[in-house]
Amino acid sequence: MKRCSIGSSIGSIAIFIFLYLPMLSVAIFSFNASKMGLKWGGFSTEWYGRLVQNETILNAAWNTLVLAVCSTFISTIIGTMLAIGMFRFPWSRRAMGKLNLLLHLPVVTPDIIFAVALVIAFSVIRYLTGLFELGMASMIVGHVTFQISFVALAVKGRLELIGHDVEEAACDLYAGYWRVLTKVLLPMLMPGIVAGAMLAFTLSLDDFVISFFTAGPKSGTLPLFIYASVKRGITPEIHALSTIIMVATICTVALMQKLTPDAKH
């Protein structure tokens, strides 16, 4: 029996075109020499050169990177701990139910409500302590909060895969608590932890809404910059910037597929 008809093949190709056409046009127009409008004015790499000179963009790029790296680092540690704590210790069924609810909360909460919740939380903290102006720190905290669950879920998948017997073997071979944790459990979890960190990193790069609500005046990221610029009109510089980000995304995704061969199933 034929499992994929010609109709659905053609349809699928059309869908892929539908997904890629806009991105491709941006890439093409980033090499357009004419400054205004979308008339083709010849090939040029001028806009890429301009990007490097634009301090706002460089600053935004730097912010994006700092935000992604810091939040990924923190959330990977906290998320891994959370997964181990939840799935390697005995919990009563009721406690487990509540923990699971909390664990999945950041995953199912719509971005906008998440952002609103963060704004409220930050303003309460500010009201109580007088500290914590919106800025890079608040953005990192915000990103960490939604990344934790994704890391924990990735690590959980790995935890379920490896079972208990290897830890038991370590215990049987005279290893104490720390030795089992550091020499056996963590190394075995590493693929899950790496996958979780990758996920957290891309989620941070991908985020717009939470950054939009929690950013300070000087901590804008690239997506925020693009959003603000689009409001003022389309410029070739934005094409170039978007193209660079798209290429970076493609590289990251390819790298992810390479590094986590068992995460793809």
């Binding site: 659905s8 892929f16 890629y20 806009p22 941006v26 181990i84 719509p110 939380a121 389309i234």
Partner: protein
């Protein structure tokens, strides 16, 4: 009761075992608390508690300068239902209704497109399948703002799409195809398609083809084969896809903001306005509350269906 009493008896024992380790229960409790507390505390203080506080904030009053006054009022809820200074207007209710409709239509369109895509991917030879999946994943990982912005470019008045539409007489010549309802749907579908396509693909890949073949044998009508042989088997993937799409689509803010403009606002934009330019947090909280309830309802509906699908 039985469970609890035996559990308590176990607690009373001086030592218990965990993972082959023999430890006192108090030490285990200390350890598990250490492991989970940073994560759980962050989620509780920064997400769960503020979400609950929305119930309170929604009933407070906005001060003159956008501050929150602790004066209980039903004003925000009344306003939500359209009772304002200038009499009743359907604007807010319309936005709410529109958000649900957009989410619903987007989800339906994504499902319709995902099935052929899933079968196409599943039919690829094992060697190239991963490549095709990566091709599907790349838009999924590309920044939302950039992807939406790319549609702005495609829909621009100078681009072929707007020209063809103008030539066909469907649009004013020299105008862009955005902001419009059509542009919002295109943007939404392109954003959410991978969210539906991937879980459905996973289900299709595991499909038991013998059932499909039996169905072809017995019914020989394409729709009936789909309805009785393919749909039941892919239902788990479908419900995951629906959850992943319908819920965030209702609260979507970037796409309608960039492609729909002020004329085609959704609840997400309205919420953003209250916390942004309008500085009306109580009203924003009331709107968020509504979105939260809608989300919960959607999750419960799909969750219930998933349980039924398993049985």
């Amino acid at each position: 009761m039985q469970d609890e009493s035996t559990e308590r008896a176990k607690e009373a024992q001086p030592i218990i075992l965990y993972n082959g380790e023999m430890v006192r229960p108090s030490i285990i409790r200390a350890r598990q608390a250490t492991f989970i507390s940073p994560g759980i505390l962050a989620i509780i203080t920064l997400l769960a508690l503020p979400c609950i506080s929305l119930f309170a904030v929604a009933f407070m009053t906005r001060g003159q300068y956008g501050e929150i006054l602790f004066e209980p009022t039903f004003g925000n809820i009344r306003r939500l239902f359209g009772f304002g200074f200038f009499g009743w207007s359907a604007d807010n209710l319309l936005i709410l209704w529109r958000s649900v409709v957009v989410a619903f239509v987007t989800t339906a369109l994504c499902i319709a497109l995902s099935y052929p895509l899933a079968f196409f991917l599943a039919a690829r030879p094992a060697k190239t399948r991963l490549l095709w999946l990566t091709v599907l994943l790349i838009p999924f990982w590309t920044n939302l703002v950039i992807r939406t912005y790319a549609w702005l470019l495609v829909f621009d008045s100078d681009m072929p799409f707007a020209r063809i539409m103008a030539w066909l007489g469907l649009m004013e010549p020299g105008t862009s195809a955005y902001p419009s309802q059509f542009a919002v749907y295109v943007g939404m579908v392109s954003v959410f398609l991978p969210f539906v396509a991937l879980p459905i693909y996973t289900a299709v890949e595991k499909l038991d083809w013998s059932i499909v073949e039996a169905a072809v044998d017995l019914y020989s009508n394409k729709w009936r084969v789909f309805r009785h042989a393919i749909l039941p088997q892919t239902l788990p993937g479908l419900s995951v896809g629906i959850t992943l799409t319908f819920v965030p689509a209702m609260g979507m803010f970037v796409v309608p903001d960039m492609l729909g403009g002020a004329r085609y606002m959704l609840i997400g934009n309205l919420i953003q306005q209250q916390f942004g330019t309008s500085r009306d947090w109580p009203f924003g909280a009331a709107l968020s509350l509504v979105l939260m309830i809608l989300t919960l309802g959607a999750l419960m509906a799909t969750g219930g269906r998933r349980k039924k699908g398993r049985a």
